[in-house]
Chain length 331, copies 2
């Protein structure tokens, strides 16, 4: 008999990084379909910084939620049939029941790996796409700076800004090794370790200033960006900021905030959930580039749901490059 | 013989309010036209908060500059003739020479007082108009909050927001007396003295939240506005902020700045000088309302150039309501 594995949160985390002991893997029988549901076997699970915030709020001893890609096993739901590939939000488990309105059928783009629907073609890529097109309104030739550049959203900003004709793409990250890889493997023009001083290194990397700052971090990165932004520059503040920070101790606001007036800077926060209607546009833009090889998603794929907690802690501690995806070994 | 009077700055000001001794009135002969200039007798002079900033930078013992309205006395400039009414930027003096590109001919709107071209139809009104239409992108029915509401720009925001269909207009100011007058005489729905606590009073005045914050002040007003703004709210930061504050000691940035992300707030600084092309649109919008009486400019008119320094210090110390204009008694 096949067993379903779900990941539960069993206690609230201490401030900072969660502990493996905050979670438990729970095995049980496969969930049974009822009228109007379909059983999905999950193939890929998304592990994101926002789960840290969820840990403060969600009920304990329940399966955690998350974005997932899966294959329909059995269906009592009109429109879904065994073998169909779907995107849904009942992740962090091997098997899930979905109802009407809870899934999207995946078109199965030839030549594009399925898991891309969790990286560049998923919420991660959509965050980058919305921030660049809807918030920053990037123009060809502009210089873009992104913080947490080695993360899922950060690497996606790098790929998308390049495809949109950015003149120069600069990233900050947490280690010299990751900075090196951003330049050598992920197409950044310049990258630096923020421990070396954000303002100085940013000024070196962009002597003529930056036009766009895509901020995943908050804190002293914003002050540095305000110093180096050109007049009429734009700051896109991604929802991820909330997850990188301790809500009880938000980072200090920048000392030079009022330079936003003299420089006519626009600073705008956004949540990707308000832009799901842009998903189709993202796909139309990106799928040809994925097929041609012009766009290469940065992903770290960890195999085995039993490794999901370690993968999550890795995301929060900045160990990996690109979007973290856990494979269940079922594709 | 007619004498020309110019106002000079004779020393740098101490921090804070300038002193009358920082200035001198200098009398002399009328300037003589040369080929390509016209002599203008100034009728109205604009006195603005930004002059405080200029005092840190401009050369001493030279005539101060400022927006002015005047009548051409004699001309060796093609296109200008004696009797023409012009707007120009060589103010703080009774007589000025203007060259090509330094003036605008005033159309002379019937039924609209000339000096309105320095208040609602001037840079003051244009700041309010640009902030509401280009930056905040106000929609009918929205709730607008403006700081320094009794000032020139603040009262203009009140008038214009009302004409644009705002659902509710709320102002903060520096005394209960001015708050009372904003409601009784200047069409605000609610106004309060910021010394009573901005967040609490703003929440009382806008229990359902605000959509737009037009900020002339910076500092703790911004924190209060972020608390009370609805999701997708907008903050228009007017250039005036720079003049209200000591550049060496900018006000503290707000503790809740990162709520801009969760609430998808847009915060944008602007300088009115980038929007002079909008002047004609402002006039088309406003002149009919000025003629019908639907728009009434808030102005304080002080007669006599010998009183200009006192008027200026009054502007900076918040003594007056509305746009400060000095008349030279020549209209």
């Amino acid at each position: 008999m096949t067993t379903a594995i779900t990941v539960h949160q069993v206690r609230r985390p201490a401030p900072g990084l969660p502990s493996p002991d905050d979670f438990a893997l729970v095995s049980g029988p496969l969930p049974e379909t009822t009228e109007g549901t379909a059983l999905v076997e999950n193939l890929y699970l998304s592990v994101d910084p926002y789960h840290r915030e969820v840990m403060e709020e969600d009920p304990l001893h329940q399966p955690l939620e998350g974005r997932a890609l899966g294959r329909v096993v059995s269906s009592r739901l009109d429109g879904l049939h065994p073998g169909d590939l779907v995107f849904h939000r009942h992740g962090w488990r091997t098997h899930a029941l979905v109802s009407e309105g809870e899934y999207s059928l995946l078109p199965g783009w030839e030549g594009v790996p399925l898991r891309t629907r969790l990286s560049l073609l998923g919420g991660t890529g959509l965050s980058a796409y919305v921030g660049l097109t809807r918030i920053a309104k990037i123009q060809p030739g502009e210089t873009v700076f992104v913080s947490a550049a080695a993360g899922g959203v950060g690497t996606a900003v790098g790929v998308l800004a390049r495809l949109m004709g950015a003149g120069r793409v600069i990233g900050s990250t947490g280690s010299p090794e990751k900075a090196r890889r951003l330049v050598e493997d992920f197409g950044f023009d310049a990258a630096f370790d923020y421990h070396d001083g954000v303002t100085e290194r940013l000024r070196e990397a962009a002597p003529e200033g930056i036009d766009v700052f895509f901020d995943n971090v908050g804190g002293d990165h914003l002050a540095a960006a305000i110093d180096v932004l050109k007049p009429h520059g734009r700051v896109a503040w991604c929802g991820a900021i909330a997850q990188y920070n301790d809500p009880a101790n938000p980072p200090a606001a920048p000392y030079n905030l009022y330079d936003i007036v003299g420089k006519s800077i626009r600073l705008e926060g956004f949540l990707v959930r308000d832009y799901r209607h842009v998903q189709e546009e993202l796909e139309e833009f990106l799928v040809p580039h994925l097929r041609s090889g012009a766009a290469v998603p940065a992903e770290t794929v960890v195999e085995g749901i039993e490794n999901i907690v370690e993968a999550f802690i890795g995301v929060l501690s900045g160990k990996n490059i690109g979007k973290m995806i856990v494979g269940t070994g079922r594709e």
